[in-house]
């Protein structure tokens, strides 16, 4: 009887130990999404430090982002969403931006590189656009395409060398541009996938002809793309058009850019 009791006690102890050692996947996911404010005003996320960058702006990444919660260290994991501050984190987990902040926080190992870029103000030397790619109606992903140097040069060439057409002001609007074949927004960006300037161009196609459009306070202008650059702009818009086609195959004939995602 004593031996049975001893064995049962040992068994219970082992069971308790095993149970206590096993984690929980959902908890691990919550830990990945729970940042903690450090005493020096930076953020600690899953053992990695994020240091504040002197960057002011709304757009800290040119791609998709996830949500995390940043709280003080006394807030437990399960209450991070209730007592923490909602923050955006870039998909590659390099930059964090609490929603109430205009600065963002950079991962320690990339801090020096990115700080060197922002310390003297950002020089946007490229263009990019985002598009949603659907695998099936339930799964979609925001992707980014950054234009190549040749494509950026083509955009600058069109902007600098073609005669613009005023297509809209306070009273007038060119009807051709109200129903384009597609519209995609080209935002100014850097070589690295962070910090975009939403001020840029829209690339529009009407009856097979490309135009770059931009707003100038009250007026909207269109710069027609010369025919010899059609191939370049076909290449620029290829991914967007492919995603739109895929979307149409899944959802039928609904306007891609008007669809309520």
């Amino acid at each position: 009887m004593k031996k049975i009791l001893k064995i049962s006690a040992c068994f219970l102890a082992v069971v308790c130990l095993v149970f206590s050692l096993t984690g929980c996947q959902q908890l691990d996911e919550m830990r990945d999404a729970h940042g903690v404010w450090t005493d020096d005003g930076n953020i600690m996320l899953n053992g990695t430090k994020y240091i504040e960058l002197p960057y002011f702006g709304d757009y800290f990444t040119n791609g998709a982002w996830d949500n995390i919660y940043v709280s003080t260290s006394d807030v437990p994991l399960l209450l991070s969403a209730n007592f923490g501050e909602l923050s955006d984190i870039s998909k590659d987990r390099v930059l964090i931006r609490p929603v109430s902040y205009t600065t963002c926080f950079c991962r320690e190992d990339r801090y020096d590189q990115i700080f060197a870029l922002v310390k003297n103000g950002l020089e946007f030397n490229g263009y990019c656009y985002t598009y949603e790619e659907y695998d099936d109606p339930a799964h979609w992903e925001i992707k980014t395409y950054t234009l190549t140097k040749e494509q950026v040069d083509a955009v600058h060439y069109v902007r600098g060398n073609t005669e613009s057409i005023m297509i809209s002001d306070a009273e007038f609007s060119d009807t051709r541009f109200q129903t384009p074949d597609f519209v995609l927004s080209l935002s100014r960006c850097l070589d690295i996938p962070y910090f975009i300037d939403p001020e840029g161009f829209s690339l529009v196609q009407i009856d097979g002809k490309y135009y770059l459009t931009e707003w100038d306070d009250i007026y909207e202008y269109a710069y027609p793309v010369p025919d010899e650059l059609n191939n370049t702009f076909d290449a620029i818009s290829k991914l967007y058009k492919d995603a739109e086609k895929k979307f149409e195959d899944l959802y039928g004939d609904v306007d891609y850019y008007e669809f309520d995602f």
Partner: protein, 265 residues
Amino acid sequence: MVKKLFKHEILAFWRGWSLIQIALLATALFGRFIQLFENNTAVYDIVFGSTTFAYSILIMVAFVGTLFSGVTRFYKNLFTSEGYLTHTLPVTATQHIMVKLVTAVLFQIATLFVVLASACIITAGDVLVEVVKAIGYLIGEIYEYTGAHMVLYIVEIIVVTIVSLFSSFLVYYTCICLGQLSKKNRVLVSVGIYFGMSMVGQVVSTVLMTFTTFPVFEDIVMYFTDHPITAIHISLCLGIVITLILSIVFFIICRMVMKKKLNLE
């Protein structure tokens, strides 16, 4: 004699009650065991999902089962053929009711502890640690807001819970006692009385709620809005007093019926 009555009542209650609690603890243990194999496959999702579902059902069964056992034991032991033997014992009607009532309440409290223990088992490990941390943090937050009032709240909540437990059984006991005044279909009559009492209770509550919208009560409502801490104390104490009064009324009804109007089948 009362002690012996208690002992036999507890033993009789234990037989049915313990099976459900063992099933609950076993399901919790199984649910925790399943989590050792946690992965992203559909098989795991189905097995763990089913286990969690079964566990939730068993929690409801545990509470409802204890309530059901308490009520049926009261009925069978005192108002069916068993009653012929029970009422020959040298025990007063008050003592009979108290024994049944206290045993039922004790087992309902025991059910609560078993459910808490099963919850600790199924979340044992990281999850339990985080849950305890979260509860501790929330208690801290409440204490920061209410101060020493929190201790009083805890006492009041415990008292109101215990009084409500007694009251919940006494409602059924009263329905059974009043039902047995009928010559035929006593169980059906008891059920009818229960629904009647529930309806009356709902109507009274609704009428009282409507009164609070009258201008006469505006100052009181404003006071409650401006002084939430005091309002909670008043609400809890009122709850205790009203439930206590109702419990006493139900108890008196049961005692009177058992003493003066007992009519066994």
